[in-house]
Symmetry: C2
Subunit: 332 residues, 2 copies
């Protein structure tokens, strides 16, 4: 089932304002949710919307609060998210990092006490719309064992890197775990195996079986020991720069909140060779796409490329929705 983008935004606005979000903020929040679905990131678009409304109801998101500046250190600022809506906080943080980048070339906003940022690619796009490279990450609750251990000590700490490109933003959006719990649940529901090993089974062997991994909760970091190390340093940097919680500290709350995030913007517009840089990116991406495919008929793409097709299709035909979830929004 497909729903026109504008209708989706309108319905989101209606529901959000019912829960005490101002008109202006509701418009932005609704756009961020709808844009996720528009580009095919359904898990963090419509499908996440009911959970976000729940988090307002249970008090973990305080709709009256927004991120505010707490300390300024030149090209880096610390902001306090005050447990406000995670997507609005993240958008503001990226916006401010871009402003700092326009002043200092590099701008960093370190955000503490915030909530789940929903779909981070949106903030990567925001950087690129302002001719900035965007590098941003969040910590999470402990949900992944450190390499060699059995209990969740690390977060999966999603990292986004976005690079402006006229042919369509290069957008890498990767958690430090091989598969999210949501993805494992989906594979299990569909009765399929993970495409590669995703964690350990109850006997301590690596497995593609999502049901086994969901029993042990021992998900694999990307690159095994490498992703374990990367997850750790992303967490420590987010916490140190913001003065906020580490994943270990987030684990002390009854639910995932009071997160730490880092937003880096690097302004490309000031480079005198800006045009030559675009040509460099273009040549690299075209070379990549000229790869001989391992699987016949499946061309090699750059990260973010598929999203553009989905976006165009969604705008033309409407945004794909889960009928049940969409019906729930209409009735909310």
């Amino acid at each position: 089932m497909r729903v026109p983008y504008d209708e989706m935004v309108r319905e989101f606005v209606r529901v959000l304002t019912k829960h005490g979000i101002t008109d202006e903020d509701a418009a932005l929040s609704a756009k961020l949710f709808a844009d996720a679905s528009l580009e095919g990131v359904y898990t963090h678009g419509l499908n996440r919307f009911p959970k976000f409304i729940d988090s307002i109801k249970n008090g973990s998101v305080d709709v009256t609060k927004r991120a505010v500046l707490s300390a300024s250190f030149g090209s880096l600022e610390r902001w306090d998210g005050q447990q406000g809506p995670g997507n609005l906080n993240a958008y503001r943080a990226m916006e401010r990092a871009i402003e700092l980048a326009k002043e200092h070339t590099v701008g960093v906003v370190a955000l503490k006490n915030t909530n789940h940022w929903m779909r981070p690619g949106n903030y990567g796009h925001l950087a690129c719309d302002n001719d900035c490279i965007g590098i941003l990450w969040t910590n999470t609750i402990p949900n992944m064992p450190a390499w060699g251990g059995t209990e969740a000590k690390l977060g999966n700490n999603p990292l986004v890197v976005s690079i402006p490109y006229e042919g369509g933003t290069v957008l890498v959006d990767v958690a430090m775990s091989m598969f999210s719990y949501g993805k494992l649940e989906k594979y299990k529901r569909e009765g399929t195996m993970c495409p590669v090993d995703g964690g350990f089974d109850t006997k301590g062997n690596m497995t593609r079986d999502p049901a086994e991994i969901l029993k042990t909760h021992q998900v694999l970091p990307i690159g095994y020991w490498k992703g374990s190390g990367l997850s750790l340093v992303l967490d420590l940097i987010a916490a140190m720069l913001s003065g906020g919680n580490t994943t270990h500290e987030v684990g002390s709350y009854p639910y995932e909140t009071m997160l730490s995030q880092t937003f880096i913007a690097i302004d490309l517009s000031r480079f005198p060779d800006r045009e030559a840089l675009e040509a460099k990116v273009d040549a690299t991406l075209k070379d990549l796409q000229s790869s001989t495919s391992i699987q016949e008929g499946v061309a090699v793409h750059y990260p973010g490329q598929g999203m553009q097709r989905t976006r165009a299709e969604s705008l033309e035909k409407g945004v794909l929705v889960d009928p049940g979830i969409w019906a729930g929004v209409l009735e909310a």
Copy 2:
């Protein structure tokens, strides 16, 4: 066989000065090579030294050249490595990034036209010695297929992140390929399998067999499609910020040279809660180490932790050397 650290430095200095490197630069270069072996990174210490001397002889490294400032953009500077020695260029670049961080909180040096930086952990340590977080990466020749493709289009683009910690620096040093070609050669020589899948075999299946991977040259990125994307953006950022070569462009030279690198330093010393930040790191690392081990008797460590034991042992008993390679240095 073990050799006292001071003797190793002395011999390196002797050989380097014979090849036209000034006394002062030879002292630093020798220290950087010796420090790699001291901390157990033998591949990029003594074992790499003969290859470095070869690269002076064949002209790919110009010992008369050093990195120079080419353009300044506030907290970010572009430097030109002029094909000088990669380790001296990288050291200078990190040194300058730290100076910029002391001024702007965040400092970035983008270095172009440089050579292999040998052991990057050294520059991570340099950042931490100055109470900075260090984030640095290099691009390389194309040596890894993009996910879904068969020909090497991406570099393995090693990334280092270092975080100062009183108990011993947190140091993550990871290439974007699961295993380096050097490591695959080593496994093959020793007749062992890779501990996890490292690439594709001649039939197109993923394999742990180093001999098979060395036939196809189809090494796996960390996290499959995820590491493929990360490698791409590390390359593009290094090239765009420095105005230097992309991996694709580096591939047009007869050997690996004219690389692009990024050095980011973030000064922690200016945060009023610096002491509380140290406590956060300490609590996280102790929690990590309290993990129940998957393999009995193998405790969970944080990245960089093992290095400290090796360093202490090497200082006490001498640095482990390959007798043949060491004899070669003595005769050089």
